[in-house]
């Protein structure tokens, strides 16, 4: 809630700072405050607490959740989990596997990060903890080859969900984005209709304005179906997703709220908006 009770220029500054401080970014902040100023005029709002509610609604209407689609999986699905380095992809793969296997899905994992030290071992440990198999090659193997084998195994075992971890990559590397594009093409070809292919982009809530560029670049390379916003158990608010949803219409599927296998929550726009404005 606001510190002040009347709607004056100081309050508008407070609104701006709440949004900017939450990494909403200049453009979206200006857009939101413009909408609010108009609403205050046309609806004759006098009370700051009413403005507060309006702010929450304005934020909430700009973002959408898609957890139900994933959790109520109908056909078979192949998830390709992507994103820049260190955002929480491998841990999120484990968390999603956890949710889906708890609800009765037969899950298989693919250790698609064949580059980073101990990436394969890290995913294998999660597989053991989850009771889920992991298809892996050796370090420095071709990641597309891992996907090839994982999809073949998924078909042979009639798996419901195959989740592929990939190595962290900065979108500034054309060759790495090219490698990701190739992985998607290989997966589509090998799946051959066996399962829907969905790309999940993992974004760290501590990320500032670069998060929007990440979403644009990854979407351009492999098309992104939904976002997983991690590390919301910290103090960062993840406001950059407002710009992402606004400009690119990509829903948020889940939020990561810790380092354990159960620390994944379905994205709720209203709760997120409430937490964001503080």
């Amino acid at each position: 809630t606001f510190r002040r009770s009347e709607i004056d220029e100081d309050l508008w500054e407070e609104v701006e700072e709440a949004l900017i401080g939450a990494d909403v970014g200049v453009e979206s902040t200006m857009d939101i405050t413009a909408h609010l100023r108009k609403a205050v005029k046309t609806e004759g709002i006098k009370d700051a607490s009413d403005l507060w509610d309006l702010l929450g609604q304005e934020v909430s209407r700009r973002i959408s959740g898609s957890a139900t689609e994933i959790l109520n999986q109908e056909g078979k699905v192949f998830y390709l989990v992507v994103g820049v380095n260190g955002t929480g992809k491998t841990t999120s793969v484990a968390k999603i596997a956890r949710k889906l296997s708890l609800s009765g899905n037969k899950v298989l994992l693919a250790a698609g990060d064949t580059y980073r030290a101990a990436a394969i071992e890290q995913l294998k440990i999660w597989g053991e903890r989850l009771g889920v198999d992991v298809i892996a090659h050796q370090r420095d193997a071709n990641p597309s080859a891992v996907l090839f084998d994982a999809i073949a195994a998924a078909k042979a075992r009639e798996v419901d969900t195959l989740i592929a971890d990939t190595s962290g990559r900065l979108h500034t590397y054309e060759n790495l984005m090219g490698e990701l594009e190739k992985m998607r093409r290989v997966a589509e070809r090998e799946l051959d209709g066996y399962a829907d292919l969905k790309v999940l982009l993992v974004i760290d809530a501590t990320t500032g304005q670069n998060g929007l560029i990440q979403a644009k670049q990854f979407a351009a390379a492999v098309e992104v179906d939904a976002i997983i916003l991690t590390k919301l158990d910290g103090t960062a608010k993840g406001g950059i997703v407002i710009s992402i949803c606004d400009q690119m219409d990509i829903p948020i599927a889940f939020t990561g709220v810790g380092e354990g296998m159960d620390d994944l929550e379905p994205f709720d726009p209203a709760l997120f908006a409430e937490a964001l404005i503080g």
Partner: protein, 289 residues
Amino acid sequence: ILSDRLQQTFKRLKGHGKVTEAHLDEAMKELRLALLEADVNFKVVKQFTSKVKERALGAEVMKSLTPAQQIIKVVREELEALMGGQAAPLSLSPSPPTVMMVVGLQGAGKTTTCAKLAAHYKKQGKRTSVIAADMQRPAAVEQLKQLGSDWDFEVYSGSEDPVTIAKNGLEHAKSHGHAVVIIDTAGRLHIDDELMSELENMRALKPHHVLLVVDAMTGQESVNLAVAFDERVGLDGVILTKMDGDARGGAALSIAQVTGKPIRYVSAGEKPDSLDIFHPDRMAQRILG
């Protein structure tokens, strides 16, 4: 980019007339937007722009025929002064081993940075080990062992709690004549009281350098996290990672402003040679876009 925006602002406002304080205020608005877009914390932006305006009210800008350029000059100077003035590598202790403790949020790049530092000192002919004190992340110790094998440095590991492992690792380094020992710690939230206390206990082992590793794409929370780590653990320096991305890196300015601690290194890649001394002038240029 900012210099163009300022040129436009002055052209539009003053035409061929004198520069007024009102014009300066408009210019400071442009500066504020540019810094916020670069992820500089909004409170730091407030302080910074008022400092720039204060200097800009002097003759160098007000009497200049090219006020936009003069303001950019002032901005650059203030940015560079804030972020450390000159580049300086970490000092090594006259009585080895020099102990470095590396801390930060989850996924910032600590383990990789520890490995790069180790490779760097090894290349200088200094016997170096890294203590694998992250007992929480799956395969964290294995990650360091593989990096140690890839990049040729020793890894000390154990099965006790992190502080005991660090203590034992330091004794091992001393008795084996290591010149440099680097402690890799588990990523943690600055609001996790228990894990921050663990770091305080590790700090009691008296490292020469406590380095905060920060992801260059960090947004507004850079201030809160840096202040928390500095207040609880005490920082000697900061290392900015993933600078090979295109994040503007405003977190560097935010952290420099609120902690006063120097940024020592910049990491720009995943290979051992991608650790460079921090250059304030290059960072200023990057933040200004």
